[in-house]
Symmetry: D2
């Protein structure tokens, strides 16, 4: 394992030095006050990152999948109906989880590459006079396709239909990298993990929970103990944790949120946009297209690059790993082999991104894909460089 | 946070230098072959630690509580009956979890300080002609009281009753520190975590699963996705993981099991016994007693020290932390305030243990508990020192 | 290498977590402004540690031996006469270095265990009417014998003799642990290293240089380049370093001096005194004596324990290392085999010290030295414990 | 300090993960056998790296400058004559050091960008019938200009002149990156440091010393103690070190030499050549030239890029640091402002190098230097990529 090159998988992302050192912590007594000194600011600052003032933050020692499970099992009961769009592998998996937990999922099948069809949601919700739909699921950023959906539009659809369902949003690959407005959008369950925008190792499942969602806890009949919000909140209130917490990771997360807030959230989002736009310029210079159907859907955290007919996107990722020691993402599900994915979230500089684009170019050329060496790099450089007219135009 | 003194809570334990460095790992692509190079030997070697050849190892990015939940949700269905003894806080919590998951628990109330009454189990199982009891739960080492139960006797009771229930054993604070014989004892679900005998941070829930237990997976109706054995085993078979794994922790666990196997499991158990016996000699020299009712129940990983009538065990732990910066465990549940707990598992030397005993003595004296400074230390020194007659007698 | 036990050699000392992390730094461009942001505060804060306002701080990437060499080669010329007392191995080595650099050393032979005889110095200096003696050497703390000499008395002797020689003081094992007053004592060359009171790895040689000493630089004829003060000061003035600096170590030293100043120097000295006094109580309880001839000479950083006639002090250290994995110092030179040495400086808690005393006791008993197990520990505990009458009396 | 981008200064170089972890070591007793277990293999393996079987390895806790000083002060006496070419800043500094130590230096002034004129050396040595020249100095790789001199030719010149002088070679920026043949070339003093090809922090000065050089030690009259070979060799023979060693750095160096030998020295040299050749292709594509006067002089560890008339090379480096957070080297001495330097030694991948070239391009374009974005990158990509015709041709 050489660890020399940055990774460009869409998470886990590159871990900054200070976060690694914060995670790498000797054992403390998690029942001592030291734990609270770490954990209390984490929870407080995460509210700022999620842009909520009234919501609660609950953190499990688990992955993002665990946060999905916590969101449904603490608010729903077997047989409850939920509404969800399937437009990629991660929205698919959440749907699958709901079904395995005995929920009835009304699925809005959506082309992979498209975003959540808010108008379709509105139609369905308006028709649901009896309010049988208890929750609306939305994947903010489909990591499989590089598509960012408009959560504000989903909320508007719910409001227009005057529907009381809970709004659950998967922000695993968007939170801390792209604007996420829990309160403004009326998100009841915001779900994320440590290993993407927070620049951490995997291991923490983070839930932002609205007061409305909390009010459903006692009635919710899905069984849970490890993922029980009530045990968490009771323990937090007593300065503790219901079982052994992952102290080092929480210490790292404390450092992470401080870094994000010190930089300023809007600056963090701008930085991600700038890095992402350079990648998109490169793709255009290669004569290729992103999987996302139109610019309004472009994700600033991951881009799925559609390879020309007759070529295999997964082979690009595999070749880059084997020949150049650099990790990209393969395509998943419906877009398997059709795309390779470039993760551009977390702790990345322009210089790092240019190394990624350089290797992507070499890999494609090695495999016979007709792109010109240096072409994408040059387009990104022109955008990234100081005084770039393109970047200034984009900023206006 | 000074981190200078070792901790003597009964987990998480002191993390050895090499394990900390193994955990502190840069990001890799968990879909690359590097992941398999870490994960495959972990699973293989964990079988040796659990002493199973036919069982499977399944590891979740969660805590020991998660491993409990995985064990029941993958093998049982709502309404199923389980048998369990309650003899401490951790057996209590597992029972509570079962009840919250809709299982019917036949509870054998047992005095805290006693072990699992195998004869009582046998009686109940023999009477269960219809085999309504689907699982027998057993906490190998009650961390709250420092009591080690005889799992072989539990198995013998089941066999004597010719009862087909699954045997589920909580080995969170015993595995990798005290002898645990999954195959010999016919354990179907062995449950443990990374933060005790494995000398790691919290964050990995480890399950040893017998073939018999695996055969119950499909019929088991408790809902689960994050904790689903099937997803895990399918992904393992394909060289992967069903969601983002905690790679650094797995890398650390790989190092940990190699350390344990290199030292030799029996040598590891002997070392724990030696350290623990020194602690018990100290307690006797203080004129105090362990919570465990008799020597056959003494745990080699944690000792709950009963403080004299009129004194508060929790105050000893609190004072040691505040005055001397050293962490011991407080009493929990029924033995709250009656004991303080000395964790003596994981990576500990005699010298470290003597620093713990020294501080325990000072703390008790400070609080007016009538023990003599140096008395417990001297008793432990006499046992620990090279050429000690006591240790040699004990070894015979 | 287990790294579990603290070390009790009189340096290098135990490195605190935060200092290790500060030293473990990725490569930066040492010609960038980042270097100055690390180095400038180090130099400024070291003045506070040395208690000088007018002196300069010069730091070489070398050991304490290098700092000795820098002190003489930047201020003296071949054939110059210096005055020095030999009362231990380290004063001996400095004398040897002077001789090898062509200096004429007037040696005041002093029993090992005694301090520098200031009255003898005064006599010699008063007799040196022609001021042929260019420098007076003084080892503040003889690490070989655990003897602290009175530097104020040496200065008083020089003043009484109205002698203009430079005063060079070896503070390697005293600075940052015991009071060192560069300006008050009129020290011209204060010599120390990173690996003792600064709680760092070896690798930095630190010189405090008075303006008077600086005024000798140009006339000094001993050749030097690596150790040249002029190159250093010129480079510092330009925000740089004359060759590649040890950036990570300097970053660690920055953290170290901040820790010391945050704690408060007097609090640091008190802490060392408290730890040391506990060790001395233990020694008395064993029925043994320190090498230092009387209490006014007791070092708060290291104690050489005289073993009874017929026993070998080095064997105690060797046995402690082999049997218990704990490092003490052996005797050196004239006191070889007669003593073993307990380092008690740097980052140490009472709990750590008690583990050291416990092992020392076991080791002595194993070798047949007639000390009682627990006796020294108990004496130290009685002194260390909260509310201890002994410590309060001592503090008055 | 973001530490995200690799550095491209010609040392200190990027430190691999495993070496950082090896350096970051807790305190051990350097008088214990553990020290020998680290130090003995370091010395043995360094012989392989230097390609000597009969020479000795001596390591000081110092910088490369210290190794220069050790080489002269252990073999020469004041007034001795040495022969040296001055063709860059580092050969200049070594000459300056000799003069400050009272040596008479016969300087062969050589244009910066040229290598050592072996024929000129031969002429001078042949004329030195009385063998007044005691040492011949040669800088293998001039870090200031990116020029590699032919040490074999220097040896041939000495042999042709039948001259008995010692051959001292500065291999600071060549050893462990480019072929260095101590025995074949008859090098008597090979001088290097930890922070270049060894991929380590600064802090270790490494000398390879021939038996012939060792035979000069006793007669050498330059004073030295810290840098005395005799103290070192005596201590090594006893399994020790003459003063406190930098144990962590030695442990890191142990890891480093194992990495180099595991990869294979010739593979290491090939890798450096490949990376360097890509850089040279990029420079050509930019329409620029290296400072090195002709291809036979091209260094595989550092390239000084000559900027067009009217532009300032230092500004390129400064701008890259400020605008893109990437460190390159400025020009020094005679080539100050005329060049900027790209270090391409140590732990570097093609992907890392391409990020460096990308930033160099952007920086030059930002400053108005007429190079085309992507042009250098494309040339390097074409050379680096798998199946590249250019690289294959180069390999033949």
């Amino acid at each position: 394992m050489s660890f020399q090159n940055p990774v460009f998988i869409p998470g886990p992302t590159n871990i900054p030095e200070v976060i690694r050192k914060a995670c790498d912590m000797p054992t403390i007594d998690h029942r001592s006050s030291v734990f609270g000194e770490i954990f209390a600011p984490v929870r407080e600052n995460l509210k700022k990152v999620l842009k909520t003032t009234s919501g609660e933050i609950i953190i499990f020692p688990a992955s993002g999948t665990g946060a999905w499970e916590a969101s449904i099992s603490n608010t729903l009961s077997p047989g409850d109906k939920v509404l969800a769009a399937r437009n990629g592998m991660f929205s698919h998996r959440w749907i699958d989880m709901c079904q395995r937990h005995g929920l009835e999922v009304q699925i809005v099948e959506t082309p992979w590459g498209e975003g959540i069809p808010a108008n379709k949601y509105q139609e369905i919700l308006a028709a649901d006079k009896g309010h049988e739909i208890k929750a609306v699921l939305a994947t903010h950023n489909e990591t499989a396709t590089g598509v960012r959906s408009d959560i504000g539009a989903v909320r508007a659809a719910m409001d227009a239909a005057k529907h009381p369902a809970l709004l659950m949003v998967d922000g695993v690959s968007s939170v801390a990298s792209m604007d996420f407005r829990m309160d403004d959008w009326g998100v009841d369950l915001a779900v994320t993990g440590s290993q993407k925008g927070f620049m951490m190792p995997a291991g923490l499942a983070i839930c932002g929970v609205s007061q409305k969602a909390l009010s459903h806890m006692d009635a919710a009949k899905l069984p849970r103990t490890f993922f029980d919000f009530r045990d968490m909140l009771n323990a937090y209130a007593a300065g503790g944790y219901p079982y052994t917490p992952a102290v080092g990771l929480l210490n790292g997360l404390n450092t992470s949120v401080n870094m994000l807030l010190d930089e300023g959230l809007e600056a963090v989002f701008d930085r991600h946009h700038r890095i992402a736009e350079g990648v998109r310029r490169a793709i255009a210079a290669w004569g290729l297209k992103p999987c996302a159907a139109n610019p309004s859907l472009y994700s600033d955290t991951v881009t799925a690059v559609v390879v020309p007919e007759g070529f295999n996107g997964s082979a690009v990722a595999t070749h880059a790993a084997e020949a150049y020691g650099m990790a990209f993402g393969v395509g998943l599900g419906e877009v398997a082999t059709k795309v390779f994915r470039i993760g551009h979230l977390g702790s990345l500089t322009e210089a790092m991104m240019l190394s990624g684009l350089s290797v992507a170019e070499m890999s494609m050329v090695d495999l016979g894909i007709p792109v010109k060496l240096g072409s994408g790099v040059a387009a990104a450089q022109e955008y990234y460089r100081v005084g770039s007219a393109a970047m200034q135009a984009a900023a206006e």
